[in-house]
């Protein structure tokens, strides 16, 4: 069990954004989290990635409890993520943005890096190489030295994924990476994600594009009003009465 979410609850004042959410993600699998707007999907992501402390319940990665850790500590344990509203540094070039992803592998401390001493120089070179290859895979290699300032949304999403992958995570959380992309970009994204398990990267993604999720995910969890409606394979979910009702509303008998 790569990721175990056990009885997670998150309360803001009187409102329960997440309540008794429990499900697991297998090693090397692609799982998805779907549900109507405001179902608490991003809140759950924030709990897993440490940006939001849960009111109750725990999250463990490879058996080690990580809920309650600060986001940077969670990231150091190998969880990479992207954001619903992309967070990139417009001041840096595309290559530099992705190299920041590999920051946790850089050795040598401030002065080592400043003076380019042994370990710092070596790890910096490795970071540059892994960033180049991630850019290549995301199809952004040509614009590597462009500033990230005027990048269209589709490429910004790919850039965020490339950055997350540059930190060589064992688990990648994608928060609506497909939203705002045109058909061809969605196809590229799907292709990129399909290769990840082979590289030892387990994927958990949030998506509204149901067709995209159905063709990619092996396991789908459905959230509604903060609670887990059901978990299962794409086939099971497609025929699950409660999911249809949540999405399409009650039929008027």
């Amino acid at each position: 069990m790569k990721l175990a979410i056990e009885d997670i609850g998150v309360r803001f004042g009187g409102l329960w954004a997440n309540r008794n959410v429990s499900f697991g993600v297998q090693e090397g699998s692609i799982s998805a989290l779907i549900g109507p707007n405001g179902a608490g999907k991003t809140t759950l992501f924030n709990v897993v990635s440490g940006f939001q402390a849960p009111t109750q319940g725990k999250v463990s990665l490879d058996g080690e409890v990580i809920s309650g850790l600060r986001p940077e500590k969670v990231a150091l344990r190998g969880i990479g993520r992207t954001f619903q509203l992309p967070e990139i540094c417009h001041d840096l070039t595309l290559l530099e943005n992705v190299m920041v992803g590999a920051y946790r592998h850089i050795r040598g401390g401030i002065f080592g890096q400043m003076l380019g001493l042994g370990p710092a120089a070596k790890t910096e070179r490795e970071a540059r190489e892994s960033a180049e290859s991630e850019l290549e895979r995301a199809g952004l290699a040509k614009q590597r030295n462009q500033s990230a300032r005027a990048l269209p949304l589709g490429q910004v999403r790919l850039l965020e994924i490339a950055r997350a992958l540059a930190s060589q995570p064992s688990l990648l959380l994608l928060d609506e990476s497909a939203s705002g992309l045109n058909a061809r970009e969605v196809e590229n994204l799907a292709h990129l994600i399909r290769q990840l398990p082979a590289r030892g990267v387990t994927v958990l993604l949030i998506e509204h594009n149901v067709r995209f999720v159905m063709q990619l995910a092996e396991q789908i969890a459905v959230l509604d009003h903060g609670q887990l409606l059901s978990v299962g394979t794409p086939a099971e979910i497609r025929n699950d009465e409660s999911v249809i009702t949540a999405y399409l509303g009650r039929r008027h008998h």
């Binding site: 600060r70 940077e72 990231a75 954001f83 001041d91 190299m99 920041v100 946790r104 401030i110």
Partner: protein, 320 residues
């Protein structure tokens, strides 16, 4: 091209004192170099790591007092005093950095301004140690072996040497992955934390580095003038430092350098205006920022941009 530019600059640096000659101009260059060391510290903190500070004068003061009291009271040679002058404010900044750097924007501006004022009160009220408003007199010049840097010319070499070294190290820092982590933290702490950057520790480290640089500047100032008193380490100094950086250009080290030179030479060029100088300085800030938030460097970049683009157009017209 880069190599020859640097070589040219180094040559100019060596023969400059001979050309300018007069003590007061050299003395102005010493102050410019001292301001440069501080503005670079602030440029790293505010320009690159995105943390505003209106309290640098407090660290400037700690550096000055630590180095001069060590020299006058304990006979510690100034060369060692400067190291202590860098470490003391850096250590204090590291101590108070973590809690106060959780704040942002004006909260951070006001809290750092408050810290600066508290440090100023310490310089005044701890009379037994600091001499209060009577200050500390008879501070020995910096000396290496028997050679003492006690003339504007010798201090010109020492302080500009320091400034060039620090400008170089800052450039390396900004270009390193630590520098990229700083710039990512400035724009989006969430992004930085999502890739494992301990944002709170990074901000505190840069805060300590900037405080240490202000401390070094304070020591250089103390050993150059030979006398210090609390009047120099006030909120006005911190405000002028920040405005100088903003005028020069927040986003780049060259902006910091330009700002430091302007901060030092403007009062000299406009000395005829006597106390009307503040109006010109304030107006410069307003006019510049309304045209270009990135100050002089921003304007130069934009001009270069349009000039290069116009160059290309001419090219296209010719080929068609």
């Amino acid at each position: 091209m880069q190599r020859s530019l640097v070589a040219l600059l180094m040559l100019a640096w060596l023969i400059l004192p001979g050309l300018l000659g007069s003590n007061s101009t050299l003395s102005l260059l010493v102050f410019a170099a001292i301001n440069l060391v501080q503005v670079i510290g602030l440029s790293l903190l505010f320009g690159f790591a995105g943390q505003i500070s209106l309290g640098q004068a407090g660290f400037y003061g700690i550096g000055a007092y630590v180095s001069s009291l060590l020299a006058t009271r304990l006979g510690v040679p100034p060369a060692l005093g400067i190291i202590a002058a860098a470490l003391a404010p850096a250590f204090l900044a590291y101590l108070i950095g973590r809690p106060i750097l959780r704040l942002r924007g004006y909260y951070l501006a006001m809290v750092t301004a408050g810290t600066g004022l508290i440090l100023h009160t310490v310089f005044v009220e701890w009379g037994g140690l600091t001499g209060g408003y009577s200050g500390v007199a008879g501070i020995p010049p910096i000396a290496v072996g028997s050679f003492a840097f006690d003339t504007p010319r010798s201090m010109f070499y020492l302080t500009t040497g320091f400034a060039i070294l620090i400008l170089f190290l800052a450039h390396r820092m900004v270009k390193s992955s630590y520098g990229r982590a700083m710039r990512t933290t400035r724009e989006s702490e969430a992004a930085a934390r999502s890739v494992g950057i301990d944002v709170s520790r990074l901000k505190t480290e840069v805060f300590a580095v900037s405080a240490g640089l202000s401390g070094i500047a304070g020591a250089l100032y103390a050993h150059y003038i030979g006398y210090i008193s609390p009047e120099t380490f006030t909120i006005d100094t911190s405000i002028n430092l920040l405005l100088a950086l903003v005028i020069g250009g927040v986003g780049s080290l060259w902006g910091g350098a330009i700002g430091a030179v302007l901060l030092t030479f403007l009062p000299e060029w406009l000395h005829q205006l006597q106390n009307a100088y503040g109006i010109v300085f304030g107006a410069l800030v307003i006019v510049l920022l309304t045209i270009e938030p990135d100050g002089i460097v921003g304007i130069v970049k934009r001009l270069a941009e349009t000039w290069r683009r116009r160059g290309n157009q001419k090219l296209d017209e010719r080929t068609v």
